[in-house]
């Protein structure tokens, strides 16, 4: 019984050492089973030392040693695998052998076996995909218990003379089995705690980073400016809980939130040396307020005591601005926020670039729509006014009608930001235009519209049909001495794979081939917008037979319509 207590006492010292070691970075590789060489070597070195330590802490009894060597061997095997377990066991065993005694060979063999047992269990769980089980203290307790029983059997089998070995085992079996299994379980529980803390930090870090990333998505699509920066700064301020957050461009503060916002005013020119340095060199600067003093460059009474300045980089490495995290004087910068800050800068840099891309894309789309509007051709307008002016004399009622058509035409042209309209709406727009042209050209123009009524409710991009018809009149029928005819057709066309919506505008001039097959900007935009929306195989196709017809045909799939 004395021996049990003594051995447990030794074990305590042993575990205190383990606990202290767990505070060092040495322990971090142990918390994850990575199978890397570095991990294996770390396991071998650490647990071999514990193995040897276990022998030194042992108690001499009847020319043998009661010890806690098994903990190192089993743990080494568990965490490092069979190879490491064998190596640790062998190292511990050889060390024990060098100390002599009648059980020296038996101990060397048994320690090696114990390492191997740990390793085999590691392999077993690895194969079953349950490697995390080895971190369970209960598992460690059982396997060490088993290993120690094995050791006792090996001593009985190998150590000579048997009588002496039998006596020894009788006195040391229970204390050693008990001490080693409990010790190994406690040791593993220390590692498990470490692992839990590490994972908790890691999760907190990832969660914060993810939440910031999620909340900041799309903010920069409005551009990198005071408004978007203010939003981003607020998000970071809330999520990280630092004292203050600031975002600058290369010259001035764009956004500031938190402690000291009374004198860190947006628009103030950058004066802090740290920021200037970060911008000039494109590197992170950090003043922790302890080793490196930090004093706010704007106000001497500023409560901020430390700062982390991270440059925001362009794709080509040029510095776009900085993001600054501050802590007040009485608070220290957490390492978590430091590394988070660095990650944030990368995230924000990417978002700014993406935002700029989206912004340009939007601008392009908008300018294209504007262009279509602007394409309302002044020639058309003045001719219409002239027609109305003539009609007014003879037929004021008709003149009024024409003015209504003209205003409807312009009204729908002015609906700038609408992306989509139904075919019916587009046709109304077309009708307003056609009524005017029919009045202008009178007997020289004849339009036939033939559209499947199921098609009228479908959506199409605005200004899809009108440019085609305008084109057919301007470059088609209006160049004819004889009567101009325009057919506008809409129908469904079923192929094996899908149902296509077809809209076509056909004139009887057939000038398109003659004009060198260059389609005007207006038609190019129509085509591009359809392709953007539905895919490259759809859009506008022009065909022509000189002097006979020009056909502008639009196709797009029916399916996307429902999914809209």
């Amino acid at each position: 019984m004395d021996l049990v207590l003594l051995l447990l006492q030794q074990l305590s010292v042993y575990l205190v050492i383990a606990y202290l070691l767990s505070k060092t970075p040495l322990f971090i590789p142990l918390t994850f089973i990575s199978g890397r060489k570095s991990h294996r070597i770390a396991c071998y070195v650490l647990f071999s030392s514990f193995c040897i330590l276990g022998t030194y802490f042992g108690l001499s009894i009847e020319n043998a040693i009661a010890n806690t060597r098994a903990i190192g061997a089993v743990m080494g095997g568990l965490l490092g695998g069979p190879l490491v377990g064998f190596a640790v066991g062998l190292t511990g065993g050889l060390h024990r052998y060098s100390m002599g005694g009648f059980t020296d060979i038996a101990c060397a063999i048994s320690t090696t076996t114990e390492g191997l047992i740990g390793g085999l269990l590691h392999l077993y769980y690895l194969r079953k995909g349950k490697i995390d089980n080895i971190f369970k203290p209960s598992v460690v307790l059982s396997i060490t218990l088993f290993a120690e029983i094995m050791q006792m059997l090996i001593i009985l089998l190998v150590a000579k003379p048997f009588d002496q070995a039998w006596l020894l085992v009788q006195s040391i079996a229970i204390p050693m089995i008990l001490a080693n299994s409990v010790g190994a379980a406690l040791f593993m529980s220390i590692i498990q705690d470490k692992k839990a803390i590490f994972e908790k930090n890691y999760t907190a870090f990832s969660n914060k980073a993810l939440r910031i990333a999620q909340r900041s998505v799309g903010v920069f699509s409005q551009g990198f400016n005071a408004v978007s920066c203010k939003k981003i700064a607020a998000i970071i301020y809330q999520e990280t809980g630092v004292g203050a957050v600031s975002i600058t461009d290369r010259d001035k503060i764009l956004a500031f939130i938190g402690v000291g916002d009374d004198h860190h005013v947006c628009g103030t020119v950058i004066s802090s040396d740290y920021t200037i340095q970060a911008i000039e060199h494109g590197e992170i600067t950090y003043a922790d307020g302890y080793e490196m003093a930090y004093q706010c460059s704007i106000s001497p009474s500023c409560k901020l005591g430390s700062v982390l300045v991270i440059p925001l980089l362009e794709a080509d490495g040029r510095v776009l601005g900085t993001i600054k995290l501050y802590e007040p004087k009485q608070k220290l910068f957490s390492t978590l926020n430091r590394s988070l800050g660095e990650g944030l800068a990368k995230l924000l840099s990417n978002q700014i670039l993406a935002g700029r891309y989206i912004q340009q894309q939007n601008l392009l789309n908008q300018s294209e729509i504007r262009l279509l509007h602007a394409q309302v051709n002044p020639h058309f307008l003045f001719n219409t006014l002239n027609t109305i002016s003539a009609v007014t004399r003879k037929d004021p009622h008709k003149a009024r009608k024409l003015i209504q058509h003209l205003s409807q035409f312009f009204r729908s042209n002015l609906k700038q930001n609408i992306e989509q309209v139904t075919v019916q709406e587009e046709l109304d727009h077309v009708q307003a235009y056609l009524q005017i042209e029919l009045a202008r050209f009178e007997e020289r123009l004849c339009v036939d519209i033939n559209i499947d009524e199921h098609l009228l409710v479908l959506n199409i991009p605005t200004f899809t049909l009108q440019p085609l018809i305008e084109n057919a009149i301007k470059h088609g029928t209006s160049t004819l001495l004889e009567k101009g005819e325009i057919n506008i057709n809409g129908y469904f066309s079923k192929t094996n794979k899908e149902t296509l919506v077809i809209l076509e505008v056909i004139d009887n001039a057939g000038n398109y081939c003659k004009d060198g097959k260059n389609i005007g900007l207006g038609l190019q935009i129509v085509d591009k917008r359809l392709k953007n929306k539905y895919g490259p195989q759809y859009g506008l196709v022009m065909s022509c037979k000189t002097g006979i017809y020009t056909k502008a045909m639009i196709s797009f799939p029916l399916i996307n319509q429902q999914a809209k």
């Binding site: 003045f382 001719n383 002239n386 027609t387 002016s389 003539a390 004399r393 009178e442 007997e443 001495l481």
Partner: protein, 246 residues
């Protein structure tokens, strides 16, 4: 009172201008034409003092029509357009008369007054002709021809021979004969056709052979075996053109 022709492809535009002109009581509108070809014919047959000419018209534009007119027998021209930045700029630069649609009657009055005084001046002395060349095409793309109840626009390179006869200017292609609404002189100036005789133009790319005759003249046979006489005067020029030593 002076005689006016209106040429515009839009019915209401003609009507409107007609009304405005009638209101002034200064002019007599003797014809309204719906396209340049009709207009060309009317100008030739009716010999107006003034033509109000729309620029945008089908097939043959107002400016093309102008280039088909003989500069020596040109009526006064007033361009009418709804909108054409470039043309208007050219009119401004060259001090041509022009009106913008819808036409203001005040502006029309001014224009008519100016034309009136210029016409009166013409009667007393030979005034300087207006040079329209800055806005005109130097080569014609299409030659308007009249057939039986139809108008045909012929590409100049299809013409093998153009000849002036009592009944008008005739154009021979490989298989057809057309009557052109243009004078030989204009054809010579504004197409690739070259003069081979006082009454004949020949397309140099269509010559198959030049048969030299005893009296120093010659005869050209075209690819489609049309014959054209070559007078002595022009034979030398043709030879020079083809690098032949006479």
């Amino acid at each position: 009172m002076f005689k006016v022709i209106i040429i515009d492809d839009e019915h209401y535009a003609r009507e409107e201008l007609n009304e405005l002109l009638e209101e002034t009581k200064l002019v007599e509108v003797i014809a309204q034409c719906a396209n340049a070809i009709e207009g060309l014919k009317a100008i030739h047959s009716l010999k107006p003092d003034v033509v109000f000419l729309d620029i945008h018209m089908p097939q043959v534009t107002g400016l093309e029509l102008l280039s088909m007119l003989d500069p020596d027998n040109m009526p006064k021209v007033v361009f009418v357009t709804a909108y054409d930045e470039y043309a208007v700029k050219a009119f401004e630069d060259n001090a041509f008369d022009y009106l913008l649609k819808p036409v203001e009657s005040q502006r029309l009055h001014k224009t008519l007054a100016r034309i009136k005084s210029s016409l009166e001046l013409d009667k007393i002395q030979q005034t300087e002709k207006i040079d329209y060349s800055p806005v005109l095409n130097h080569k014609l793309e299409l030659i308007p021809c009249s057939g039986f109840n139809r108008i045909l626009l012929l590409e100049p390179n299809k013409i093998e021979i153009a000849m002036s006869e009592q009944t008008g200017v005739h154009l021979l292609t490989d298989s057809d004969k057309f009557t052109a609404s243009l004078s030989l002189k204009i054809l010579e100036e504004k197409t690739e056709l070259i003069r081979c005789h006082r009454q004949y133009l020949i397309n140099p790319t269509c010559i198959r052979e030049i048969k030299l005759l005893d009296n120093g003249s010659a005869e050209i046979i075209t690819r489609s075996l049309h014959h054209a006489p070559v007078s002595r005067r022009y034979l030398k020029l043709i030879k020079d053109r083809f690098g032949l030593i006479s």
